[in-house]
Amino acid sequence: MGGGTLLDFARGPGMEWALAILVFGIVWRLVGIFTLKRPKDLAEPRAGASAIGAMWVIISRTWPHKEFRERVLHWEVVSYLFHGGYAVAILGYAPHILLIRALIGISWPGLPGGVIAFAAGISGVALIALLMHRLNSPVLRKISNFDDYFSWLVAFMPLPTGLMAYYHLGGNYEWMLGFHMLTGEILLAWLPFGKIMHTILFAFSRGTTGLAYSRKGAPL
């Protein structure tokens, strides 16, 4: 496939299909979870329990409690380097913002290309470190499955392809840009079907425990 053809596909049907699968998949998975029975908790809540307190857990769990930091903080920091760099690259790069504006009509000022490239580089290096950790840690080796490795690949690919397109590396620019867009579309299409869905589910999961523990007056 030539560069122009691939880019046309990525800008056209590729993007449309990816977005359609993304929306359908997210709705399917959320409906599949939340239509299951959820018995009401009839225990009298502790005095002072509040839903606001429960919702706070959604934010507070973003950083580990001091009691656990010695054992988990280092890898959590690496994980945030990945997540933070990724967010900056996706939401700060002007062409990405233009694409988002074309899709949903909102936009914001972009960041300089060098900043984006740096953020993407940090994110990619952090992702490689996380993969090495998964391959070397006995705990992670034991609990990992296909989803962990495939989702890693799907999340990783837009980073080097994006950097190569940005720096005009890897031959034909149009082809590389098309390939980069395609990796992004694969990411969007895969999101509802693997662990990357945690970008949405984390709030529900934290909130579920937050509500249960808040009723008990138990700190989380």
Binding site: W28, R29, V31, G32, I33, F34, T35, L36, K37, R38, P39, D41, L42, A43, E44, R46, V57, R61, T62, P64, H65, E67, F68, R71, V72, W75, E76, S79, S137, P138, V139, L140, R141, K142, I143, S144, N145, F146, D148, F193, K195, M197, H198, L201, F202, F204, S205, R206, G207, T208, T209, G210, A212, Y213, K216, G217, A218, P219, L220
Partner: protein, 444 residues
């Protein structure tokens, strides 16, 4: 699980030898477990099972992993068959998994293999819940897996015997109504204190743990002295006194309901406004937080752990205490504190006693389990592993340099007693209630 993944501890005879109850075939056992699992695949469990990112952080909060370094003790791995069954049979992506053969059926052999992970090496202490970046309450998932294991007849024999005894005799340790009456009479006589039993009406129904009746009967006298001091209208009931709930611990829904309903019916019969739960961690979980859900409607009375009652009476100015100047460290029972929310009450009582409270490094909700919860203390074959994790607790207590170790759980207390004997440790766990009873001031 490969051989290399199995850390065989010195003197540990049990690994790879699951207990089985009954003569059902493997297919029948699997069928029963799957039916139970399906019943527990509600929205809460589903959102947990869908959200795990396999980060492995839960291992770092688990005493079994921390002490052994064996990855099989990673909390989320302990519920793997449940997760696998959910993803294959019930999850939103299950049609895809089945169509493409991406998730294998759980087998009876896997369930049997997981017995050690779901019972021997998990006290359902919930410490992993506090570290999980997704906030997954793994302990509640373990509870659901235990339902399936019990249905399949795959409970460790020692625990199962205790559960069955609770069901047939009303007490896991043989503390029948006759034994209760004898013990109450003995304590009333020895301590010269009135202990009301089977009154028709009372404001407060007091319950007790079999462990206290059989091993620490002095706690009965301590309770009676406190109730006399605050001039409470109270009674024990021989038709509803046993606060432990081994059905809940082992995964037996019927046994759990039976034990819970006895207390609820007795409380309603005497018109109790308050039910006081004894120094027993899981009793608090069973009645305070699960009781209404078992009953099917809100409970028509208030449920308090004894530490909450003591703190309440101190705040009301009805409980007057002498000062005890000793240094004390407090062990929070997991089901009362971390998973129950009653963290401030015992500290308010200790403050009123005037002790020099020396908190452990990880305390309150972050406290390390004694290793005896979740029915683990009943499983003899798990003793070597239990002693290993108990060493965390010993270090925690020793580091405070406190003269006295106090707790509000008789199950923790017997775990401490056992650990003390095993390690020839110079510390013993004491009861907060007994400490209060020993320091009651004369009423002016």
């Amino acid at each position: 699980m490969t051989t290399s993944d199995t850390a065989v501890l010195p003197g540990d005879p049990h690994v790879g030898v699951p207990d089985k109850q009954g003569t059902a075939s493997d297919a029948e056992r699997l069928d029963r477990a799957m039916h139970s699992f399906l019943r527990d695949f509600g929205a809460n469990n589903a959102v947990y099972l869908e959200s795990c990112v396999h980060c492995g952080q839960c291992a770092e909060a688990c005493q079994y992993y921390v002490q052994t370094g064996d990855p099989k003790y990673t909390p989320i791995w302990k519920i793997e068959p449940f997760k696998q069954a959910y993803k294959r049979e019930m999850g939103p992506l299950s049609p895809i998994y089945r169509l493409l053969g991406l998730k294998k059926r759980v087998t009876a052999a896997e369930l049997a293999e997981w017995q050690e992970l779901i019972y021997d090496s998990c006290t359902m202490c919930g410490r992993c819940t506090l570290v999980c970046p997704m906030g997954i309450d793994i302990a509640s998932l373990v509870g659901s897996v235990r339902h399936g294991m019990e249905a399949a007849g795959l409970v460790p024999h020692d625990l199962k015997v205790t559960m069955d005894r609770a069901k047939t005799e009303g007490s896991p340790l043989g503390a029948t109504p006759k034994v209760l009456k004898e013990r109450l009479a003995w304590m009333a006589d020895e301590h010269q204190v009135e202990i009301p039993l089977d009154l028709d009406k009372a404001d407060i129904l007091v319950t007790i743990s079999s462990i206290e009746i059989m091993k620490y009967p002095q706690s009965i006298a301590a309770l009676a002295k406190v109730m006399r001091h605050v001039k409470a209208s109270w009674t024990f009931r021989s038709d509803g006194y046993e606060a432990t709930n081994f059905g809940m611990l082992g995964g037996d829904r019927v046994g759990q309901r039976q034990a819970t309903m006895k207390l609820i019916e007795a409380a309603i019969k005497v018109g109790a406004k308050v039910v006081i739960l004894p120094e027993c961690g899981h009793a608090y979980q069973a009645l305070r937080w699960q009781g209404a859900n078992v009953y099917g409607k809100p409970l028509p009375f208030k449920v308090l752990n004894i530490s909450e009652y003591l703190a309440e009476k101190i705040a009301e100015g009805k409980l007057h205490l002498k000062t005890d100047t000793r240094s004390v460290t407090f062990h929070d029972p997991c089901q009362v504190a971390r998973r129950g929310g009653a963290i401030a009450a015992p500290r308010e009582v200790l403050h009123a006693l005037g002790v020099d409270l020396r908190e452990m490094k990880d305390t309150g909700a972050f406290n390390w389990c004694c290793g005896g919860g979740g029915g683990v203390v009943t499983i003899k074959r798990a003793d070597p592993l239990r002693y290993r994790v108990f060493q965390i607790k010993m270090r925690q207590v020793d580091d405070t340099g406190a003269e006295l170790l106090v707790s509000t759980c008789s199950n923790c207390r017997q775990t401490f007693d056992d650990g003390q004997a095993h390690f020839h440790w110079d510390k013993a766990a004491h009861s907060l209630l007994e400490l209060v009873a020993d320091n009651l001031a004369e009423r002016s």
